[in-house]
């Protein structure tokens, strides 16, 4: 049986597409582009199967290969992401030339071997497909190849279990509830109340500024652990301590200035000293203290 001209035209057109797709799979820099090129090659191969009388395989090729396997590839590409490994730079010296040499030699061997074969015409599947392609395949699968077919079932189950074992991570213990977490905190004597907020008693309210303790030192707990490990904490406690010192100095000056005048200085002094520990609240007394100071002078 000879092939028709239509089939020849179809072959030369689609074979070009298939080879381009295969080259694209190898040469494309990004894995997604490689996967799409491969999907194109597989669709072309499905058309060739149909043209060769393998109607069942042609449909299975599209459903299983381009539908399932290539989608699986794309999912994994999305999970794994585009890494630096995509670069085409060679890491082993001379590997590219050797690979090209081996590939070329292998191809020449294969094609030379095929060139020696004397193939002139197809026998054709007209007789084999006379009862329908699927029926013919089914007859063979369930008679001659029934043992291989059953082994295939075992193989598929093994593959499914293997994939689950490889990718699934079992949570071996129950996640602790909020109550259990709270009880554990109390038992261990760790930080029982909520962590202090950042910026409290400081000059600013930003999350990267530690809250100040009443004595003016920064509270480590009040800043996010991530910011602390990154070293992105702005420590303004020095400023605050200086402000506090200056305020106390002024308060003392004020008290000394008043000390010559009357006994009311002790009340003013304690008032001036109590205000700075209020942090942000220290500003108004500070401002009001300055004119008082000036007035005293």
């Amino acid at each position: 049986m000879t092939t028709s001209t239509g089939e020849a035209v179809e072959f030369w057109l689609l074979a070009t597409v298939a080879v381009l797709g295969a080259l694209g799979t190898v040469a494309m820099r990004k894995a997604v582009h490689s996967a799409l090129s491969l999907a194109g090659t597989m669709i072309v191969l499905a058309v060739f199967y149909l043209a060769n009388g393998a109607y069942f395989l042609g449909v299975v090729q599209i459903v299983v290969y381009t539908g399932a396997i290539m989608m699986l590839f794309l999912f994994v590409v999305m999970v794994v992401g585009i890494t630096a490994a995509d670069s085409l730079r060679e890491t082993i010296r001379g590997q590219r030339w050797l690979a090209a040499l081996v590939g070329l030699g292998f191809g020449v061997l294969l094609i030379a071997g095929l060139g020696n074969a004397s193939v002139h015409a197809f026998t054709g599947l007209g007789q084999a497909n006379s009862g329908g392609n699927v029926e013919g395949l089914a007859k063979l699968i369930f008679t001659t190849y029934v043992w291989a077919f059953e082994i295939t079932g075992a193989l598929l189950i093994t593959a499914a279990v293997g994939a689950m074992v490889l990718t699934h991570r079992e949570r071996t213990e129950r996640a602790a509830t909020q109550r259990e977490l709270a009880e554990r905190r109390v038992r261990e004597g760790a930080q029982v109340p909520p962590l202090p907020a950042p910026g409290v008693y400081a000059r600013h309210n930003a999350v990267d500024i530690p809250g100040l303790l009443p004595d003016g030192t920064p509270a480590e707990l009040s800043v996010n652990k991530t910011l602390r490990s990154r070293g992105q904490i702005r420590d303004v406690s020095g400023e605050a301590l200086e402000d506090l010192k200056a305020l106390e100095q002024r308060a003392e000056d004020h008290a000394e200035g008043k000390g010559t005048e009357g006994a009311a200085n002790s009340g003013a002094g304690s008032g001036g000293r109590g205000a700075p520990s209020g942090g942000t609240g220290a500003e108004p007394p500070n401002n009001s203290a300055t004119p008082a100071n000036g007035a005293a002078r």
Binding site: A22, T41, N133
Partner: protein, 99 residues
């Protein structure tokens, strides 16, 4: 058209796939090239079935597809596991057992 053209195409695709396995270092692309080689074999099987006028070649191609599906599932699971532990999909990084 001589039927051997299908076999030439199959050999060419197989060679390109094999060269791709040698060229590329991204494990996923290496895996795609293996798939390409399997597909090239399937094309040869289907062509042989038509050459000889029986369906045995198509049965072989069918079994190849089943085995390829199982292989892809397990292989991609291995790649994902490897990526989780190494944060890389490069075949160069899988050198823990190298002397």
């Amino acid at each position: 058209m001589n039927p051997i053209n299908y076999l030439y195409l199959s050999a060419l695709l197989f060679t390109i796939g094999g060269a791709g396995v040698l060229f590329r270092r991204n494990a996923i692309i290496v895996f795609m090239c293996v798939e390409l080689m399997l597909n090239a074999c399937n094309l040869a099987f289907v062509t042989f079935a038509r050459l000889h006028g029986n369906l045995d070649g198509q049965i072989f191609a069918f079994f190849t597809m089943v085995v390829a599906a199982a292989e892809v599932v397990v292989g991609l699971a291995i790649i994902v596991t490897f990526f989780r532990s190494r944060h890389s999909a490069s075949v160069d990084d899988a050198s823990l057992m190298k002397l």
